[in-house]
Amino acid sequence: MSATEGLAEHGRRVYLDTASGEALHPAARQSFAAALETAYADPRRLHHAGRAARLVLDNARAATADALGLRPDEVTFTSSGTDAVHRGLLGLHRGAERHGDTIVHTAVEHSAVLQAASWTRSPTRSIPVDAEARIDLDALDLEDATVVACQSANHEVGTLQPVAELAARLDGVPLFVDACASAGRLPLPDGWSALAASAHKWGGPPGVGILAVRHGARWREPFPEDDRAAERESGFENVPAILAAAAALRAVVDERDAECVRQHALVDRLRTVVGGLPEVEVVGSPDDRLPHLVTFSCLYVDGEALVTELDRQGFEVASGSACTSSALEPSHVLAAMGALTHGNVRVSVGRDTTDGDVERFLAVLPGVLGDLRARL
């Protein structure tokens, strides 16, 4: 690809895939650089350099806990959001294995949850969802359940799940919440025993996940134990990245009241205009949703071709269509909702996205769809 490709009309590329990963928040850069110099040692060592790293790690933990409304001793840093999901879900499952054997999860969980559940070879049971991807609480079946997994919000279509209502119906079965899609942008829901979040979704660096386990929750190490200072820790933490993640989180939480309203309005604008295009369906809840993302499916269009053509025009978006995934299976989220799975695009905005970016995208999209359909 040439360096000027896709820059023609408006002079810069427009990144509309913050739900996959957001650029590093400016507030994180300085912390990151400083900690690379000072926090290189093993935080468990008793020498000066080790204590310096420990101080940075403890400060980052305190700031993270404060921003998320947690206690510092509930927070463990992991090597990714996926790692936090695996440890959170499987640790609760192991902790309850005397009470049952079945992992219950929503039909629209992230594949990290589904793969972890399947890896145990334990029975699994899915909670169905409606056409907006919201779980059907009346279909909940807790027989032999060790754990119930429910996302805070859907990562593909943005619909918020009724986590508190679900938690009220669990009758002592622990709840695992995958909060990767919402953490930072929205307050965490209540009622869970373990929760996972991911720093690069809020503008921290990649490679930092948060595993939160409530004080008193029955969580048991599902993987080989590590000889670290605290339970649940595994491996030598990336202390500079963790500090940067905490700095980004604090900044995002500080600015989120205004920023979420702004991003919500950008997505409203996208939903309105895209929803008016012929043979295009916007999916997910229009109101009860994440502020920053929208998904739509376009009849008679190949999702891969759509992503590629939009990229050529300077717009970077994601797709849940089968033709864009390695598995050649359609998105299980779209399938569970009964939504059209081909021609699917997810657009997600961030702090750098302007009204002009959204308007330019909306100006280009109808022509791209028309061209792709004309090639049939």
């Binding site: 008679y300 089968a322 081909h342």
Partner: protein, 74 residues
């Protein structure tokens, strides 16, 4: 029933074929989309919903490949 052999075609080709051929049958008649592509199971019913046609259910062709049946209503 008009049967469309979409074996081996990947999404969105089976649905494109369905849209091209639905007009070949009269209102009230059936079109069967025989497709190996996994997405057709979701996309044929979604197409019916989006275009105002009726999804009549899933059958199995003689070779075991799913057949998604659509009733033309308009």
């Amino acid at each position: 029933m008009l049967e469309l052999d979409c074996r081996g075609l990947v999404c969105p080709a089976p649905v494109i074929e369905l849209a091209r051929r639905i007009g070949d049958v009269a209102a009230g008649e059936l079109v069967g989309v025989v497709a190996t592509d996994a997405a057709a199971r979701y996309d044929v019913p979604a197409w019916c919903r989006m275009t105002g046609q009726e999804y009549a259910g899933e059958e199995t062709a003689d070779d075991g490949v799913p057949r998604y049946v659509v009733r033309r209503v308009r």
